[in-house]
Amino acid sequence: MDLDFPRMRRERRAKLRDAMSAQGMDAVLLVGPSNQEYAGVKQPCADAMRMHYEPVVVLATVDEALPHVWTPFIEGVPEEVPADHVHAPLAIELTGGVEALVRAVSEVAPSARRVGVDELTSPMVDHLARLSPSIEWLDATTATGAARICKTPDEVECMRRAQRINEIAMYDVEAALRPGVRQNELSAIFLRRAFELGATSSIIDPIWNLTPLSVGAGTLTANGDVGFPLASNDRFLREGDLVLCDTGLTWMGYHSDFGKTWICAVDPRPTPAQRECYLRWQEVIEAVYAAIKPGASCGDLDRAAAGVEEKFALKHFYLGHGAGCDSSEPPFIGSDLGLAFDDTVELAPGMVFVLEPVVWRDGVGGYRSEEIVVVTVDGYERLTTYGYTPFE
């Protein structure tokens, strides 16, 4: 489709204002990078939320179409934001910066009384409420979460393209999967190719999980389930290793998510019992697909999966998770939030989530794959296109 970034930003900000209005908020003060991205403002780099030295602050009000931005990174401010809305950076990691922040908010939004904030720096914990007695500080994520959960067509297209970059890079990795290769070589192939293809950032250490065929043969785990995900290092892959891979990147602020099960071998072939795991996994995913439609609940998806395979996910993970400006965001499906919670979350067009069921037979191994879907007006559409070698 024809991707229109100004339209995407405009529509997101309108949704954010609607969500603020629904929550009775006059404004939201955004410190978290993914919420800033949603408001149209980019961070200078993909740091793990730690903007110690180049903090960006965004204030979106319910009355104004465009946000105020305090940033040292002018390139991250979209063209439609006027010059009088772009300000010198605030040092919110320091007490004086929080004092300046409070002054700045009172100058640009003097009537704001109920203001959401998503994250607090350490000096904000100590001083924000004290310095701003006229403001009631609320949880901004009630508004940002509501705005973000359903994607616009432009957002879906960004995710499709992010996933495409991820998949093309992974073809090169799968081709290199031979006994004797090291995990860090696979990471290097993936990252080099992903950035050559235009990825904006890598958002997780690439995972090449060497997975023993039984839980007992692996390392001690906290929950008695499969040890996953394990950090990659320079160890060799050997003939017959079962590899659960998981990678992710961003393109224009949107996350991909790629997970497959591979076998490291000169001529990779699953055992008949391993292929049975894969076939059962296909039954699970097809049952879940059949349940996806607007008006269904996340609990309906849990029940569809459990109808085929009672334990359809690793204990500490889930059947699925939302994705967008974060790699894992609402809705969470089949997680430890519980079925009763999942029954309260209704699927709606534009909702994007990553389904990642696992079928495991201890002693045999198992199968895991991640599939990104978007809910449409009459069902769903898949964004993942990669196949299931060597199991299919």
Binding site: P33, R50, E119, S122, I204, T221, N223, S327, L337
Partner: protein, 177 residues
């Protein structure tokens, strides 16, 4: 003719990515213990009974655990608890596996990633000293977790502790510390 620059002796042609901690090519054990001792000393100085960290660099410094790195998108989550009195660390791990954990973090003191925030409260509240802690340092917070932290530490006030961690991390330790 310009002098040939000295070739550094790296000791091995492969310095590794993240495996070196396992191979003990550097004495990481003493380094981790020295860092942790400095954290505990600083907590004593600031009269912090507990320290709750969410920033990955701080968590790595205090716990010695190199968790899976994720970037850009992780919202603030308090995932590492340090207790001054008992020197106990309670840590969230992205994996259920104990692989890569240093010996100072005991097998019962980590929990795998969770999506239900009440699980954080339960882990923290069950920690010896949580119910009596008076001052809890935090390196960041969110309004949502702020409410939960007051459930986990019912008698404590939250105190910004990022300046403390920044000061500790600014001064690097010499080899063999």
């Amino acid at each position: 003719m310009a002098p040939t620059p000295a070739t550094p002796n790296l000791g091995t042609p492969n310095l590794s990515t993240s495996a070196s901690e396992e191979r003990e090519r550097i004495a990481f054990g003493p380094l981790r213990r020295a860092r942790r001792a400095r954290v505990l000393e600083a907590m004593e100085r600031l009269d912090l009974d507990a320290l709750v960290l969410g920033r990955e660099g701080n968590v790595r410094y205090a716990s010695g655990v190199r968790r899976l790195w994720t970037a850009q998108s992780r919202p603030f989550t308090p995932t590492c608890l340090v207790m001054r009195e008992t020197d106990q660390i309670v840590l969230l791990s992205f994996s259920a596996s104990y692989e890569g954990m240093p010996e100072e973090v005991l097998p019962d003191d980590f929990f795998s990633v969770t999506w239900n925030p009440m699980n954080f409260v339960e882990r923290f509240v069950a920690t010896e000293g949580a119910s009596t802690a008076r001052r809890v340092g935090v390196d960041g917070m969110s309004p949502f977790f702020d409410g939960l932290m007051h459930q986990a530490f019912p008698n404590a006030s939250l105190v910004g502790a990022e300046p403390m961690m920044r000061e500790l991390r600014r001064h690097k330790l010499a080899a063999g510390s």
